[in-house]
Amino acid sequence: MAPLLAALVNLNKRPYYIHWGVIQLSAANAVVILLMLVVFAAAVLVPFPKDRGE
């Protein structure tokens, strides 16, 4: 069980930051926000399965 409890990817390192004018965003937060936009767009655009029982 022990190996499962250690991180496979170590994020305890010096962070990356995105500087754009007044905006200063950590790469991790930027990824989360970008993922939210992508997931929202996908949820809107990807066709929903038709009701096979009708």
């Binding site: 990817v9 305890n12 991790a28 937060n29 929903f48 029982g53």
Partner: protein, 506 residues
């Protein structure tokens, strides 16, 4: 037969929530978009947070800091929170573009928006009670925002015990209650029909058009499995941050000159805490919101006499040191202006000394101050000052206001935070240590501090809080805001969400 209170409530409940509405197996045919699953995913995230939080509560902080299994469950809790907010934000966006408040559904929107705001507060208290470096930094910074508008006089973010109870009891109960109310409103009014199809409703406001099969329990179960797999998977892959807390001892050993300078500033009244104002003392005017001195009006509810609390009182507890006893007697017997002159002269001399090193000072009459600050440094380096500052005259201590204020008065904690990009000027409030995502949902709160007039104002905290309160009220009451509530009609996202419904007649 006369109706009883109980029978009236039961009849009202049966009329508002018939079983087929509470546990539906059919839904309107227009519900054919993936955006609809994010409500269930958000609830699944909340369930996962409560389950992992319950395990953490069963075992306690020593367990989740000190054992690998405990830290793993802590990671699940953290990632569940990230997933919960992720899904809730997508749900919120979708409902905004659907104008989901139409058809007497304003209460549904309002309860959902309030649940979001209370969730942000709950997550914040979670970050405050991590009992690690991140929580030390977050709380010492956030206190200024709370204090600036008077909230800090009773909601003390530096009081670990108070924050822990808010986090594990009061706020989760509020989030669960609001979520339950929100779901009940959804079930009562039904899911909002497509824009332009509002005419296809029955007398009770429910959809009277075509329907499709739906299984609410299956949806919730699948949503929970998805969230559970993601939370556990992210915990296995990334774990979670847990930088060790900074102790007074660590500070005194790593930066002794900064420690002595801070202790001297406590004595001469120039430290951040000594000159703060309410809720700690009357030594500063506090922040204002225009003519409103909310900070001052809230009063001094957590009295801190910096010289006495951080320096003199801990030194009185040091036994068997004749030189120190003499220094304390000299200090205690001197008038206030003499005490101030000694400390100020010593403070000025330290600032001019090479590396601010007390051992490189030459000459000067500083009275008992060098002995007092030197002995305080020794006490701190031995670890004794950590306990002395935390002691509140009782065996059990859960309020870390004093040690946190003292550590934050120095520059050591801030220098560590700067390395981790956690300073306010670095958008630090939304960041996490290392390369982990933080409280991204605080982006707007953090943003205001970066731009004028907030960035250059002495009342920045009060101003930012006022703006955020207004914007939060705006979010909650979107259904009643004339222009904002019309935006979904102008932006054709709803035509994409309901494209299969709109395309039926084509």
């Amino acid at each position: 037969m006369t109706a009883t209170w109980t029978s009236r409530v039961r009849e009202r409940a049966e009329g508002s929530f018939p079983p087929e509405q509470l546990l539906p197996d059919r839904q309107p045919a227009y519900m054919a978009s993936w955006v609809y699953v994010f409500g269930a995913l958000t609830i699944a995230g909340l369930v996962m947070i409560i389950l992992s939080g319950t395990v953490l509560a069963l075992e306690g902080p020593q367990w989740y800091h000190g054992s690998r299994v405990g830290h793993f469950v802590n990671s699940i809790h953290l990632w569940s929170v990230e997933l919960f907010f992720f899904c809730m934000v997508v749900h919120l966006w979708a409902k905004f573009f659907m104008a989901a408040w139409r058809g007497r559904r304003a209460a549904t929107w309002v309860t959902g928006a309030v649940a979001f705001v209370v969730s942000v507060a709950t997550a914040f208290t979670g970050y405050a009670v991590q009992s690690n470096f991140d929580s030390q930094w977050i709380t010492t910074q956030a206190k200024d925002g709370m204090n600036a508008v008077g909230i800090g006089s009773w909601f003390n973010v530096l009081d670990y015990g108070q924050m822990l109870l808010f986090h594990v009891l009061l706020l989760p109960v509020a989030v669960v209650a609001l979520t339950g109310l929100h779901v009940l409103f959804v079930r009562r009014r039904g899911v909002v029909p497509p824009i332009g199809s509002e005419g296809t409703v029955g007398p009770a406001g429910h959809w009277a058009g075509p329907t499709r099969r739906y299984d609410v329990l299956k949806e919730l179960t699948v949503a929970f499995v998805v969230i559970a797999v993601l939370a556990v998977g992210l915990s296995i892959v990334f774990s979670s941050p847990d930088d060790r807390e900074v102790t007074v001892q660590q500070w005194a050993r790593a930066a002794p000159n900064d420690f002595v300078a801070t202790a001297t500033a406590e004595l001469d009244g120039t430290s951040g805490s000594a000159s703060y104002g309410a809720p700690y003392n009357h030594n500063g005017p506090g922040q204002k919101l225009g003519p409103l001195a909310l900070q001052r009006w809230a009063g001094v509810t957590i009295p801190i006499d910096s010289a006495d609390v951080f320096v003199v009182a801990p030194l009185r507890g040091v036994p068997g040191d004749a030189q120190l006893s003499g220094a304390l007697s000299q200090w205690g017997g001197a008038p206030a202006d003499q005490q101030g002159k000694w400390a100020t002269d010593y403070d000025n001399a330290l600032q001019k000394a090479p590396d601010n090193d007390p051992s490189k000072l030459t000459g000067g009459d500083y009275g008992p101050v060098p002995v007092m600050t030197g002995r305080l440094l020794q006490l701190a380096q031995s670890g004794g000052l950590d306990g002395a500052l935390l002691a509140q005259g009782r065996f059990y201590a859960t309020d870390y206001t004093r040690p946190l204020l003292f550590i934050a008065d120095g520059t050591y904690l801030a220098s560590l935070a700067q390395d981790q990009h956690l300073l306010g000027s670095q958008w630090g409030m939304m960041n996490e240590t290392g390369r982990y995502p933080g409280q991204a949902w605080l982006w707007l709160y953090t943003f205001w501090y970066q731009v004028k007039p907030f960035s250059s104002s002495g009342n920045a905290d009060a101003l930012v809080w006022a703006v955020m309160m207004l914007l939060t009220l705006g979010l909650i009451f979107v259904p009643f805001l004339p222009v904002v509530r019309s935006i979904p009609r102008w932006v054709p996202v709803h035509r994409l969400i309901w494209r299969s419904w709109y395309g039926r007649g084509a």
